[in-house]
Symmetry: C2
Subunit: 200 residues, 2 copies
């Protein structure tokens, strides 16, 4: 074996020992509260990926969309492949600049939250996505303390994923895992330009 | 209508006008190069969500996993629901600290890249995920210039998603959309504590 290969192996053996110890240290199993926030793409999309992974494990999963509009129907069609194992509710009235009616938005969010509470109580659901709940909380369309308390009091075997920009600090504090999706570069047209503030 | 509701409607009308103008300005359709990078969770998971969305649109999709290990088999099982519409190749040999054999890792990455090139040339594939390609590039297991050139030369109707930490600047420059997944909070055990450097 070359010197380079030997050095590589020694380095990787050390790294593997660290990794294995880390994995061994994680023995607690519990339903997680995950938050996907930040201005970048991928918050709802990653939640969708988690649903797919959970379906692959044989679980039943739920989705409540608090603010319709950010989603097209592609993923909903795809989920039809899993039949009754996916419970999907689109309850928002569209982004608030679509409806321009605050009272209606509030009523829609409150109804969506009631549906979410019902799914949280359903023992057949193992993963529940509350899509754009952060937007509803940001506009104070729902009571933050009540929502966080209910999420904290979730069943021990229920994973909940909350998506949307500007996650409230109280929700971040209650969460087990928070990912901030940052927008490094974002445009659709050709003529690709670097965004201001990017390091390349 | 109350003053508050009137103000809300006026504000939202303005916002809707801005949104509509933005949407109208985006008329170019092309296959995008998307990069999911950063230390946080959700890079591969969001790619999986994109696959599901594409499947919902009736597309055929491909997945090449350059580095096995970060994925369990849940999502692969779930994808079986879509039959021949998903082409899935797990070609990496595990993370490099698992194999501890650099020559074998390089050979596996090169083979994976050949498979990826084949799928890029297959006109039935509309979305291709190159999972953990960034890791292969970071370790110089593949030629960066050749990979970026091939990605730039992709078919106009092919979307490619590249995942993995530490995306190379040349890849970021070639990409249409780059999301950095930041880890705000990440732990599995109970006894939730704020991570160092978090603002709450």
């Amino acid at each position: 074996m070359s010197d380079d290969a030997t050095r590589h192996r020694a380095k990787m053996e050390k790294r593997k020992a660290v990794q294995d110890a880390e994995v061994a240290a994680k023995t607690v199993e519990k339903g997680l509260l995950l938050v996907h926030t930040g201005p970048g793409k991928g918050k709802s999309t990653a939640a969708l990926g988690l649903m797919l992974r959970a379906l692959g494990r044989g679980w039943r999963v739920g989705m409540v969309q608090f603010i319709k509009g950010g989603w097209d129907t592609g993923e909903r069609h795809a989920m039809a492949a899993f039949g009754e194992r996916v419970v999907w509710h689109t309850l928002g009235e569209g982004f608030t600049w679509e409806t321009q009616d605050k009272a209606r938005d509030i009523a829609a969010c409150r109804h969506a939250w009631e549906v979410a509470e019902g799914l949280m109580a359903d023992p057949t659901i193992r993963l529940l996505v509350l899509d754009e709940l952060n937007i509803a909380l940001r506009y104070d369309y729902l009571d933050l303390d009540a929502v966080v308390a209910a999420l904290r009091a979730r069943r021990p075997d229920l994973h909940v994923v909350v998506t949307g920009r500007n996650a409230k600090p109280a929700l971040v504090e209650a969460a087990d895992l928070v990912t901030e999706m940052g927008s490094v570069k974002h445009h659709f047209a050709a003529g690709v330009k670097a965004q201001e503030g990017i390091e390349f």
